[in-house]
Amino acid sequence: MDTLASLADGFVVALTFQNILLALVGCFLGTIMGALPGLGPSNGVAILIPVAFTLGLGPTPALILLTSVYYGAMYGGRISSILLNIPGDEPALMTCLDGYPMAKQGRAGEALALSGIASFVGAFFATWGLVLLAPQLVKVALLFGPAEYFALFTLAFATLGGISATNQAKSAFAAALGLGLAMIGVDTQTGVPRFTFGEVHLYDGIDFLVAIVGLFALSEVFIFLEHRGSAEEEAAKPKIEIGRIVPSWGLIRYCTPTMLRSTVLGFIAGVLPGAGASLGSFISYSIEKKVVDSSGKTFGKGDPRGVAAPEAGNNAAAGGALVPMLALGVPGSGTTAVLLAVLLSLNITPGPLLFSQNPDVVWGLIAALFIGNLMLLAMNIPMVGLFTRVLMVPPRILMPVVAMISFVGIYGISGSSFDLLVMIAFGVGGWALRKLDVPLVPVILGTLLGNEMEVNLRRAVTIDDGNYGILVGSPLAIALWTIAIVGFILPIFVGGILKRRMKQAHEEGSLTD
């Protein structure tokens, strides 16, 4: 096997004392950066670029350091999702849905460890996918024209109904709100600013991170302020227990099929440029929910599979996103865009010839991903005990710290005080939405995916001179539409039947879950 021989050469490159040390440092820093709200993988990598240059690292060691940070941040994002209900970065959004309820049930340790294992599974198989399939996978990316992308994003929204809320109308409202927010900024297809009120800060649209940190972190702080000192709060906040740290073998086995399915979905989402890790974790979660929990009984209430699915999905997507970056020179996500810039400044041109022109860099990098991934698993499981101590911190100390980190994190990214005001606005909005029991996740998803969905629709229609027929113009597009429609309609019928059955069962008094 040619590939395996190349991979072995890659391990020779990667397994030097210096490179292992760099991977270790990168993994550790990445995990911390991922866990802090505001700082995500792309900022984490960007922050370390000058460090890599200052140390005078060669291309391979520099890439090893930076991709370790990337993988580390993908791991780390889940920590604050589970412990605080505040996603550390965009892809960790879905992990809140079941991770936080698990923590509230005193299973924080299990949730963290299980999501660590799921992250490992996702990243491990995705790296193998990168090794074995990268050249072929490029062809998959080439099957997706604007029409197919539009169908894919519609599929994502069609499966949205199942997420988070018991009230579908509120879910739909939240998604519509998110889509509306996505429209803010200069419209690339006409060059005209929309909903910017002449405010130049809004021309680039709303930064997802600002929205996420505002909606989740700040609104949490506001809710705390509202209930501060009341007896109600003491009653509402049961003493959180950490629970066991290592999940039982049975639980891991129970979640294994979930992890594998989500890995495949996440990886494919990662390979498609413009879809990325957020879509990967989102689709993994919603499809998994449809597969194993179509009646909506356990997902969203602390189902371990609801933690395993998005984590396997987003880490697989992180690996998948490296495929178009290395093989096409097209970044599949914000972080890979930064990595791409690094490659270019190291005198390496990613693209179709990278594998033949710079095999040592590519295979050294891939070997480093394997090493980094193992390190992260080894590092994360023992650290679970440490992370969970966060839960012991009383809210009156924790909440100011959360507020501080939010402000510093957001200001650190853009250096703009306007973004801080936007964040506060989102915080107030998030607080109001919570009062009204409107789920926050669809708002973010609408903002995150809405723009891409819209521009792809318009690209497709413009290319075909205003003819909407192009949207169903290829077998792939038709297949995606079919899945979207089935995914949308089926739960309405099946869900109805299941609910009736459940009701009967409930009346018979046999339902204890």
Binding site: I49, G145, G274, G329, S345
Partner: protein, 330 residues
């Protein structure tokens, strides 16, 4: 006695050593050199700041490390407004700019700001535009592509990495105008989030042609996946790109350079302005910078001081005229 003499001697030596340095510095040295990249990390402006900052320090042209600040938003407008409104007298500050900055200034996309509010320092190179098609396309020359567009504008969808009205779009319109296409608004341009995404869609068959910078297309040219019909440069580029014909030699006199350079606050003192112009000019002439340019596919564009100011003014005027014609601005 001897000690005093020695000390005197040393002082004199030190003075002599210092003399050329102070003459160079023209009575100004930045105590806290800072470069604003008006975008998130990873983009072209960010690269310009970081690479220039690093090279200036390597060459000893600035006394300390250049601090790079990312101030994103509004396609550079947030940084522009910040410099004009809050840091107008800052002598230590330079800001990365490119053709995109000139385009937005020309189209009044920075509300209330104009190019005279800042001082334009110097360019550090240019990335020339290319127009390309997929390798299996039946079109082999730029005039052929233009003829096809003239006959049926709907038959050619051209993709690029900038928004409608952005530089990638304008480049192809300049070429279309030169080729005699009367109503350039008919040209079917599809905007993508970056040049790479547009090339991918060219390979996927969604588009018939691609407009972008040479550096964006380089990897695909090397692999033979795309055919570059023309480079929009005044003359053929050197090195590995020498085979690519210019638009001009095919009878279409279109030039589209995505230049990279810097501006400084409008209230910067003349001493500081001269210092920065001089530092960047020296950097441009250094071997290290030649290496950087080669690595990144940057072509020569060596303008500084008043020359550069005039160059930016001219491109703003040209873009204003073109934008009016296609209806981007009234």
């Amino acid at each position: 006695m001897t000690l005093t003499a020695l000390r005197r001697g040393l002082t004199a030596a030190a003075l002599i050593a210092c003399a050329p340095l102070s003459a160079l510095a023209q009575d100004f040295t930045p105590s806290n050199p800072e470069c604003i990249a008006p975008a998130n990390p990873g983009g072209g402006w960010d690269f310009t700041c970081r690479q220039v900052g690093k090279s200036l320090q390597d060459e000893g042209l600035i006394p300390s490390t250049m601090q790079v600040v990312n101030l994103s938003g509004g396609g550079g407008g947030v940084a522009f407004a910040e410099v004009v409104n809050k840091r107008n007298d800052d002598n230590d500050l330079i800001v990365a700019a490119s053709s995109a900055t000139a385009t937005r200034l020309a189209q009044n996309a920075f509300p209330g700001n104009t190019m005279d509010q800042v001082r334009w320092l110097a360019s550090v190179g240019a990335d020339y535009g290319v127009i390309a098609v997929a390798k299996d396309s039946e079109i082999n020359t730029l005039p052929k592509l233009m003829d096809k567009m003239k006959a049926d504008p709907k038959s050619v969808a051209i993709g690029g990495g900038s928004a409608v009205g952005g530089w990638d779009h304008l480049k192809v319109l300049i070429a279309a105008q030169e080729a005699g296409i009367e109503d350039v608004r008919q040209v079917k341009y599809i905007a993508f989030a970056g040049g790479g995404e547009a090339v991918t869609q060219l390979l996927a068959g969604s588009l018939q042609a691609f407009t972008g910078d040479l550096s964006e297309a380089k990897g695909f040219v090397d692999s033979g996946d795309i055919k570059v019909l023309a480079v929009l440069a005044p003359e053929r580029l050197g090195g590995e790109f020498a085979d690519i014909p210019t638009a001009k030699e095919q009878g279409i006199d279109a030039i589209g350079a995505n230049w990279r350079g810097f501006y400084a606050p409008g209230g910067m003192s003349d001493a500081a302005y001269d210092y920065w112009v001089d530092a960047i000019a020296k950097l441009y002439a250094s071997d290290e910078w030649k290496q950087v340019m080669e690595t990144n596919g940057l072509a020569p564009l060596d303008l500084h001081g008043a020359e550069f100011q005039a160059f930016v003014q001219e491109s703003v005027n040209n873009i204003t005229a073109l934008s009016k014609e296609i209806g981007i601005i009234q």
